[in-house]
Symmetry: C2
Subunit: 409 residues, 2 copies
């Protein structure tokens, strides 16, 4: 079938014709639940049994903040293949793919609608005690087994070829690594922080470090990344976690994925300035977030290093000192990428609800200034970072300075 | 036509049928001039006009030192496409491709048979005053324009996909970066240096640095490399230079190509210990070689940086300080890769005539020990290197120490 965007009824019909999903004559309902900016997302459900699936179809364009531009349908293939590779490693943490249709750029997959978007959960002040263990495992396994360490050299190179993803990488290259650091038309920030944003545009040491991080993003084909691992791509319950939407998947530096998780925890941390009015509650939730940052890294690294010792196929992997040197570099990359991801969410095109939902513009501007200070410190001081507490210590000291200065104004 | 290895007569017939090369009824002779280990190479010539072409056909196997293993015919496509990309940038430095036949894994190209193999020229003690300028230009232009700096992000990523070259990369991964540093069956070294080779197998800091360089070779998709740029892939006259045989081409770290050139100059430098009996002549030729090492880097870097300033398309390329930081890292990579390339030529499967042609085993062992000491120093001390004279100073000091120790034995 040649590509066309499906209607709700066509989506139902499509699913009915797939073998093994629903019984013949099942009574299915369909509801489009996507935001319509990039994809159609149909929730298809059999009321009688409660069984449901998601049909996700890529649209041939992207719409963000009123703008619209053409965007490759190949991202549906990338997403579907990435999901399947991740599922093979951590089936409990990724929705199962039932069917992929290249022509229609359409994937039929497990419905994780009983979970909620983690960003929403954090904004509501929920705690997820299993989150660090779960996301640490996701990161360790998906990254290790697609890297040169955990896969055969032929297999890794074949995957690099299958995950060449120029159009979606270009979005990251522009919106994460370039536009926010100059006066670009895509930027979209609170006018109250104009002074701080302009200071970033003038900050030469910062821009140099971001350019280096960008160059590494462009060139270091280390592992199959999710590529967009913010808390809006993570669905959670108190006990379960599902990582969705890997359409930005490509071979890049591991620290970019780990940094994305940490950045989004820290964006919520900054947002607490306006999200939580009670100082005691705010402090307590922030401590929870910082502990989670530490735990995410610690869980990741302990599982990753264990895989390295037990499963590494690369012949040089067991050379003495290599894993320590690798991990040391990786936490610094992680901090740097976390910093870029924070800055871009404050200055660039796509903001986050953790900040945007702060109703009062002044309060929001304060939270945004704190986020900028944290992002900047992570980038500029990343070479001093050796363990996860160095990251949280840095955040604590930036925060203390921030409230001190606010108190003296 | 399905693949089969051509006979000399079939090669003539094949060329005759190509439009535009020879006139109908031309009287052509054919001579197979390859070594038959990897490829058939036919020199096809019209005596009446002196016109000639090369027909190079890949064989579906590789034979080295008696061993034979299957090897992908796709390397003929890689070689032919790499030659054409390089020709586009530096047509005077690369043989022109007239025709490529995917089925037959066969390329018809310009005959550069009026040149000689540079390795041979160096062993004969010739000097090539234009060499550094020429190879510096080749490196600067072919690397710059295929990197993220000099090409559009979509174009670069498409090229990465076209130059995924798993089988030939695996040969490098094994023979340059792994086998020589352990007691591997492929190794093939002079029994007289057993002690020095075993010391390398035990040298943990050295093995760690080599493992890091290997990891970068595996992951850093920076530019389309030639991939095997030793002095046997460079054809020269006093005025002209042609780079041939890019069948190992793939996207990797720039320093690997530059390091290969420098390594092979330094292998000849070490070989002078046995190639040149007259101490004055030896000293003078070694000075010429070290000046050439400096000039190769200096020519490369000045042309590369000029291209960067004038032609860089990457939006972040002009961030203050980036090119300096890039070049600083690059010369260190270059030294490291040069070191690996030297070590592997002494210990590993494929030696070089610069050493192997030294008839006396004892003298050859001495030259090989000097080469090992130079290679080791380049790898271990590369982070102290900032400019080309740091490389040659290092070589001079290793050499002085070597002769001092020899004198006290």
């Amino acid at each position: 079938m040649a590509y066309r965007a499906l209607t709700e009824q066509e989506a139902v019909q499509y699913v009915k014709e797939l073998p093994g999903l629903f019984s013949e004559g099942a009574d299915l309902s369909s509801r489009e639940i996507g935001d319509g900016n990039l994809n159609l997302v149909f929730d298809i459900r059999e009321e009688a049994t409660g069984k449901s699936v998601i049909v996700k179809q890529a649209l041939p364009y992207a719409r963000v903040v009123g703008e619209s531009w053409p965007l490759t349908l190949d991202r549906a293939r990338i997403e579907s293949e990435a999901l399947q590779i991740q599922y093979k490693r951590v089936p409990e943490l990724v929705p199962q793919v039932y069917h992929f249709d290249q022509e229609l750029a359409l994937t039929v997959m497990e419905n994780v609608g009983d979970h909620i978007i983690m960003r929403k959960g954090l904004i509501e002040g929920n705690r997820y005690p299993l989150f660090a263990k779960q996301i640490g495992k996701f990161l360790a396994h998906t990254l290790f087994y697609t890297s040169d360490l955990g896969s055969h050299p032929y297999e890794k190179k074949a995957l690099v070829g299958r995950f060449i993803n120029p159009e979606l990488c270009k979005i990251t290259e522009d919106l994460v690594f370039t536009d926010p650091y100059e006066n670009a038309p895509t930027n979209n920030f609170n006018p109250l922080i104009q002074r701080e944003v302009e200071a970033i545009w003038q900050n030469k040491p910062l821009k140099l470090e971001i350019a280096k991080l960008k160059y590494d993003f462009l060139t270091r084909a280390e592992a199959l990344l999710h590529g967009d691992l913010h808390t809006g791509s993570i669905f959670v319950t108190k006990t379960s976690l599902k990582v969705i939407d890997p359409e930005f998947a490509y071979y890049g530096p591991l620290g970019f994925d780990i940094g994305a998780v940490i950045a989004n925890l820290l964006l919520n941390y900054a947002g607490q300035h306006g999200l939580q009015a009670d100082p005691g509650e705010r402090e307590s939730y922030r401590e929870y977030l910082l502990e989670t940052v530490e735990d995410v890294w610690n869980e990741f690294v302990s599982q990753f290093v264990q895989l390295w010792h037990k499963q590494a196929k690369e012949r040089s992997a067991h050379v003495e000192g290599l894993w320590e040197s690798y991990v040391n570099r990786l936490i610094q990359d992680t901090a740097g990428y976390a910093g870029c991801k924070i800055l871009r969410r404050v200055i660039g095109l796509a903001g986050v609800a953790d900040l945007n939902e702060i109703a009062d513009e002044q309060t929001r501007a304060e939270a945004e200034r704190l986020a900028l200070a944290i992002g900047e410190a992570l980038i500029l001081q990343r070479t001093k970072i050796g363990e996860s507490t160095d990251i949280t210590d840095l955040v604590r000291s930036v925060t203390a300075k921030f409230y001190q200065e606010a108190a003296t104004v």
